[in-house]
């Protein structure tokens, strides 16, 4: 991982030509962030010459399309987009096919192990260890009284994300190991949907994303997140990596960015971008004004 300051990167790439259209495509997790940034960037500047007087007076046109991390990578490979949005680490084979690429890590997303706030378990324990979580998620424990005898004999409803999303992979690697998640677990299409499902179902448990978790709890506690192996999911623990169930949320580009692209990337990594990331419930992976890249 390397960092560079905003000013230096702009001057470094000053000779790389100009492009008035920029396209982002991929992960639905990053989509809301990039899409709001794109609209506010377009709003404030309208034409590129307002961004930098050396740019031509072309209309700013930044395009963000959702589709999923896989689509993001393949679109980048095909050249259908300039930047692929990915909410997981790239696999080795993907790294290979992409060749010369740069990752721009915008945010970190953590998975909380959450239950419905009405679940009596919240009052009994505040910590779950990896083994218990694994036993719940792989179907060894099927009713709540197996988790704690004082709980009622109600079926555990497990909520997860779809198999090919980044969250599934992260959870698999950090918690499940070589065990499989029970096939009776409900897959949700998005983190918000997952959070809604837990909020609607008193006997549910699931790995709601940290962003979705904080959002859902905005107007009263409906979800309850446990400490995992003694570590509470907070901004700090996630940032410093001590809370381990987390994944990067980033976009990936090929080659070096053009001037205009760099200008927008700088905008993403500005204070404004920082705020937007936070507003969306994610944890910024950068300090404002510093572009967080890795090759």
């Amino acid at each position: 991982s390397s960092t560079s300051t905003t000013q230096s990167s702009t001057s470094q790439n000053a000779s790389d030509g100009f492009k008035s259209n920029i396209m982002f495509c991929g992960s639905t997790s990053l989509y809301p962030i990039m899409s709001s940034l794109a609209s506010s960037f377009t709003d404030t500047n309208a034409t590129w010459d307002k961004v930098d007087s050396s740019f031509p007076k072309d209309n700013v046109s930044i395009y963000v399309a959702p589709g999923g991390s896989g689509v993001g990578v393949s679109a980048l490979k095909d050249g259908t987009c300039d930047y692929g949005m990915v909410a997981r680490t790239l696999s080795d084979s993907e790294k290979q096919t992409l060749g010369d690429y740069t990752e721009y890590q915008v945010a970190k997303d953590a998975l909380t192990v959450s239950v419905n706030a009405q679940n009596p378990l919240c009052d009994i324990v505040d910590n779950l260890d990896t083994d218990t979580i694994r036993a719940i998620f792989d179907g060894d424990l099927t009713t709540w009284n197996q988790v704690d005898p004082s709980l009622p004999d109600q079926k555990i409803q497990v909520y997860i994300r779809d198999l090919s999303g980044g969250a599934y992979e992260v959870f698999q690697k950090t918690i499940m190991g070589d065990k499989e998640v029970t096939s009776s677990a409900t897959q949700s299409a998005s983190m918000t949907e997952l959070a809604t499902n837990i909020a609607n179902n008193p006997w549910a448990i699931g790995y709601a994303g940290y962003g979705a978790y904080t959002k859902a709890n905005k107007s009263g506690a409906v979800l309850h997140a446990f400490k995992v192996n003694g570590v509470e999911p907070t901004v700090d623990t996630i940032k410093d990596g001590s809370y381990t169930i987390q994944r990067p949320v980033m976009f990936v580009g090929k080659g070096t960015p053009t001037d205009s692209e760099q200008a927008f990337i700088n905008y993403v990594f500005s204070q404004k971008g920082y705020d937007v990331v936070e507003a969306n419930g994610y944890i910024p992976a950068f300090t404002p004004g510093t572009v967080e890249t890795s090759k």
């Binding site: 899409s35 506010s40 046109s61 930044i62 399309a65 589709g67 998005s190």
Partner: protein, 298 residues
Amino acid sequence: MALNAQHRKRLSEHADTVCSLAIRLIVAASCVIVLLVFVYIAYEAFPFFQAVSLSDFLGGTKWMPIDFGNGTSYGIANFIGATLMTSGLAVAFALLIAIGAALFLSCSASTRLRQMIYPFIDMLAGVPSVIFGFIGLVVVVTFFINKGIAQSGCVLAASLVLAVMILPFLVTSMSESIVKVKKQCLPASQALGVDRWYAVAHSILPLSLKFFIPSIVMAFGRAMGETMAVLMIIGNANVAPTLLGKGESIASLIALEMGGAVRGSMQYHALFAAGFILMVLIFVIDIAMSRLLKKMQK
């Protein structure tokens, strides 16, 4: 056969009591269901309409439902434009093809061939919209970009894919209508010695037209409501829609943001308000089309 005596009794005990009641119950049930959907949407949209003026909503072009420091604004003019443009184009394209295909099926193909082709059409109707979206993205948009026609997903690409999606419904219903009209009209035409295509152009098609309208209206509605496929292709940018530029339809707006909207927030209500406007749009188009139909019949 002393039937007359039984008669009167039958009339009362029959039908207009039992059948009528059953049907009325079902109708009541379906009304409740339909109303439930409407009322739910209207109910969730209501707080928004209280907070934001209709003219700002319908006339504004800036959509920023979450305050990132520059305040919020809820203008859906561009989305309305993109929705109308995409679905209008899609219906136009689909009609062009559908009329030809329906004429072929109903007037050129034998009954046998027609019956053989229908299942394929239905198959197309059952392809999940996510696959259409994917094909649109990977084939159509890529083609457009490679040929330099457009720089990204665009309204035209979306309407082309949408046209393919509503095609099966249009072809089936239109060819069924034409077959019925043909049975009625073709013999008389033949007896007058005019050729088949003259009959098609001057009696069969004109008479089928009024049966097309309901199908077209419904296809229009479906096109306006279609979500997944359009979402993936149209480019989703809040700009004034142009043929080869990006746009964002109301349905994709809702699909994109509903997932992230906090329930009870103004954004959430605004999305339902947009859905409400979509319904109103469909309603208005519907009324306009049936007016048109009435005019045409005169």
